[in-house]
């Protein structure tokens, strides 16, 4: 029982991350009809928003101490963080909470990046073939990666969890189990709540605002909406920005769990495509359901009880499930007909 609860939490946690990444991708698919291979790079840029934010907070004054020498004879440098020396405890708090606070930093940055990408490059490719969209977005992803690499190198840059959230919570007790039967990292619970919140916000935005209504109408029938005299292009720019923001904040909050390096986007790229397609093209709820489904199944497939019966099942479960779902349901879980089928 405790093992099942723990794996369920693992699955939901993974699922939250998968769903967040897939959400932006499926938005761009459904509205703009663009196969965006740079979506992984947007996630990566989000991760590095957290890195940059922390870097800015920990800018130090460097003084050289000539009394101490390093092993190769250069004077040792003494560093003091500026924020701490200016703001004292409040500054220390800022540094400690850099990751969650970086979300505030990531939202405008990612919005701008998304809009610039769409206006500067992507919008010229709406009418081009999917093949050319793949080529240009893949090229763009590589360029973005290399830019990040030239600043931060290839080694992962670890991001700490705020000290207060570092302990593992005793989740089992909440469900009436014995103490310490299921302990779970607090930060993972925070991430789960965060992803649920962001997903809820995106859905509310699409459901209850006029903007969201127009976008949903555009996803269903682009021509008609255009004929009604609505400037759908302007709206779509913002949709792309929104997709970038969702991917970006998903990345920023994920950094304590997975130390980001410049390549992290590519590692998530294939997975996010699988999630989107399993969910069904052009369906937002589909992407969310598929994300959680794949996350939970991946967790359960890794249990020793399962792998002892099917060795290696945990390696391929995601792809196996994707194949079965696509063979049983022609358009994934909730896909609409005619989207990306030719």
């Amino acid at each position: 029982m405790d093992a099942i609860l723990a794996q369920l939490l693992n699955g939901l946690d993974k699922g939250g991350a998968y769903a967040l990444i897939a959400l932006g991708l499926t938005l761009v698919f459904g509205t703009l009809g663009v196969v965006n291979f740079a979506h992984g790079a947007l996630f990566m840029l989000g991760c590095f928003c957290a890195v940059v934010f922390r870097y800015l907070l920990t800018i130090e004054t460097v003084t050289v101490d000539p009394t101490q020498l390093s092993p190769w004879g250069a004077p040792v440098e003494v560093r003091t963080p500026l924020v701490q020396s200016w703001l004292g405890d409040w500054g220390a708090f800022l540094v400690d909470y850099s990751v969650p606070l970086s979300v505030i930093f990531a939202v405008p940055v990612m919005l701008v990046i998304g809009i610039v990408m769409e206006r500067g490059l992507i919008k010229h490719f709406y009418k081009r073939s999917h093949a050319e969209q793949i080529l240009v977005t893949f090229g763009l992803a590589i360029v973005l990666q290399e830019i990040v690499r030239s600043f931060f190198g290839a080694n992962p840059v670890p991001q700490p969890i705020p000290a207060d959230l570092r302990v593992a919570a005793d989740v089992g007790v909440w469900f009436g189990m014995e103490a310490y039967s299921v302990t779970y990292p607090t930060w993972r619970l925070v991430y789960l709540l965060f992803s649920a919140g962001v997903i809820g916000a995106v859905f509310a935005f699409m459901r209850f605002t006029t903007f969201g209504m127009v976008v949903r109408a555009g996803m269903a029938d682009r021509e008609t909406v255009g004929i009604l005299g609505i400037d759908i292009d302007r709206k779509f720019t913002i949709v792309f920005g929104l997709a970038a923001v969702v991917a970006g904040v998903a990345g920023a909050m994920y950094t304590p769990l997975l130390a980001p390096n410049y390549h992290i986007g590519m590692d998530f790229l294939v997975l996010s495509f699988v999630v989107v397609v399993v969910g069904g093209m052009g369906s937002l709820p589909g992407a969310v359901v598929a994300g959680f489904l794949l996350g939970v199944l991946q967790s359960f497939a890794s249990m020793n009880e399962v792998t002892s019966i099917f060795p290696g099942i945990d390696q391929i479960i995601i792809y196996l499930v994707a194949i079965i779902i696509l063979l049983v349901r022609p358009r994934g879980l909730m896909g609409r007909s005619g989207v990306m089928e030719s």
């Binding site: 250069a74 190198g153 670890p158 700490p160 039967s181 779970y184 990292p185 769990l257 997975l258």
Partner: protein
């Protein structure tokens, strides 16, 4: 494009006109091979060696560190800089005037941490650039692939950072040499300290990266810990590069184990160790003892990538810049003066391998590979940072002290994340080469 023409010219001058004719007609190739007697004979030209390391992809940083070590070694061999470990190496035939009086040159390549790309790079160095020796790698896959290729082409390959038993075990080759230590030695070396620190009554849970290196490592560590009296609760295989290990970590907590052994390397370990710590494993009591995590194989860059999680964790290393022998001091000094930071073990092994090759050529008095190989085999040396070291002839593995290290609790910079806490003597980590099988093959090259 003209740029390459220029490069070609420069290269052709050094490689010699022989290559041009060889390239134009395949028939001449055999003649040339016969005339030269062996592959890429430098003859009267400057010898060229190839540094083939990952410069892109997950292990780019380790590869670039290694490259720095190589470039420094070339400088020292050519008599530039302060000479580094050439001054401390004993015995040495190196005089700081190049190799056999000729200036050493080098070419570089990117293996992308991919066996196919590694072999492509090695072939370019051998076929186009005329490299007489190829060196460098960050994984065992790359090492074995390049070593096999170089053996077939009759060019010596000095491996870089490869820790799997196979490189000098079942996949060993006459033309391949490894200075780095390997999984079996890690297991043997770490065991005494584990017994001392954590006692002989422990229950261990292994998480193992699911590929050759992980398996050999798991096998070695398991054998060493079980010999201490530890019990193995379970050994679980985890997919390579999975990122999030939570689904493998939760079962550890209630398994009855009180030690978690992470047979992960590089990016896998950078993710799995902090995640294990986040699950509260280090604050936990199990079977009335403090729960512990062990990472048998460490590198400085991994430790930096894992951040705070690495504090207090025990593992092994090939070399550490904080060692206080003459060789380590000399190397750290000249590396630090050159690049402004202390060297990593990746840079060290690259540097040492280059020096050892150059020294062997100098002693053999020729670049002819069989002679150089004989000079390296069973070569006993000291002063290269690891104490007295033996290049064993029967499997081309270096035997030397193995360092046991622990994550520094209070690092003052990103360079002292690991503390040396013990050294296991060379005699203890020696093993019978027969246990891993494999054969070295003949001295005479097959073809070029």
């Amino acid at each position: 494009m003209t740029k390459f023409t220029m490069n070609r010219r420069g290269l052709l001058k050094t490689v010699g006109a022989g290559l041009t004719t060889a390239v134009a007609s395949p028939l001449v190739l055999t003649n040339r091979a016969y005339a030269q007697q062996f592959c890429n004979n430098p003859g009267d030209n400057d010898p060229i060696i190839g540094f083939n390391v990952p410069q892109t992809g997950t292990y780019a940083e380790e590869g670039l560190e290694q490259l720095k070590g190589y470039e420094l070694a070339v400088k020292h061999i050519n008599g530039e800089g302060d000479g580094g470990m050439i001054n401390t190496m004993q015995p040495t035939a190196l005089k700081g005037n190049g190799i056999l009086g000729k200036r050493l040159r080098y070419v570089t390549g990117d293996t992308q941490t991919n066996t196919d790309a590694a072999r492509d790079g090695a072939r370019r160095m051998i076929e186009r650039d005329g490299a007489v020796m190829v060196t460098g790698c960050v994984t065992t896959g790359e090492a074995v692939a390049q070593q096999a290729l170089c053996h077939e082409l009759g060019v010596i390959y000095m491996s870089g950072l490869t820790h799997g038993n196979d490189t000098t075990g079942k996949d060993k080759r006459r033309y391949g040499f490894r200075h780095f230590f390997q999984g079996y030695m890690s297991g043997v070396a770490i065991a005494p300290l584990l017994a001392e620190e954590y006692g002989r009554d422990r229950r261990a849970y292994h998480l193992t990266a699911d590929y050759n290196w992980g398996w050999t490592q798991e096998e070695s560590i398991m054998a060493a810990t079980e010999a201490l009296g530890w019990e193995t609760v379970r050994a679980v295989r985890t997919p390579l590069g999975i990122g999030d290990y939570s689904q493998y970590l939760t079962p550890v907590l209630n398994s009855g184990a009180d030690v978690l052994i992470l047979n992960h390397y590089g990016h896998d370990m950078v993710n799995s160790l902090p995640q294990a710590v986040q699950f509260g494993m280090r604050d936990r009591m199990a079977n009335g003892k403090q729960f512990e995590i062990i990472v048998p194989m460490f590198s400085e860059l991994m430790a930096v990538g894992a951040g705070d999680a690495v504090k207090g964790i025990i593992g092994t290393q090939n070399w550490n810049w904080q060692l206080d022998d003459a060789g380590s001091r000399a190397f750290t000094q000249s590396y630090g003066a050159e690049y402004g930071e202390p060297p990593s073990q990746s840079a060290h092994t690259g540097y040492v391998q280059t020096l050892l090759y150059a020294d062997a050529v100098e002693r053999a008095g020729t670049f002819y590979p069989p002679e150089v190989i004989r000079a390296l085999e069973d070569f006993e040396f000291d002063g290269l940072g690891n104490g007295p070291t033996l290049y064993r002839g029967s499997d081309h593995q270096c035997f030397k002290e193995v360092l046991v290290v622990r994550g520094n609790e209070a690092p003052t910079s990103r360079f002292d994340v690991l503390d040396v806490v013990g050294k296991t003597p060379r005699e203890d980590v020696m093993y019978d080469p027969a246990i891993f099988g494999g054969e070295l093959g003949p001295y005479e090259p097959n073809m070029c």
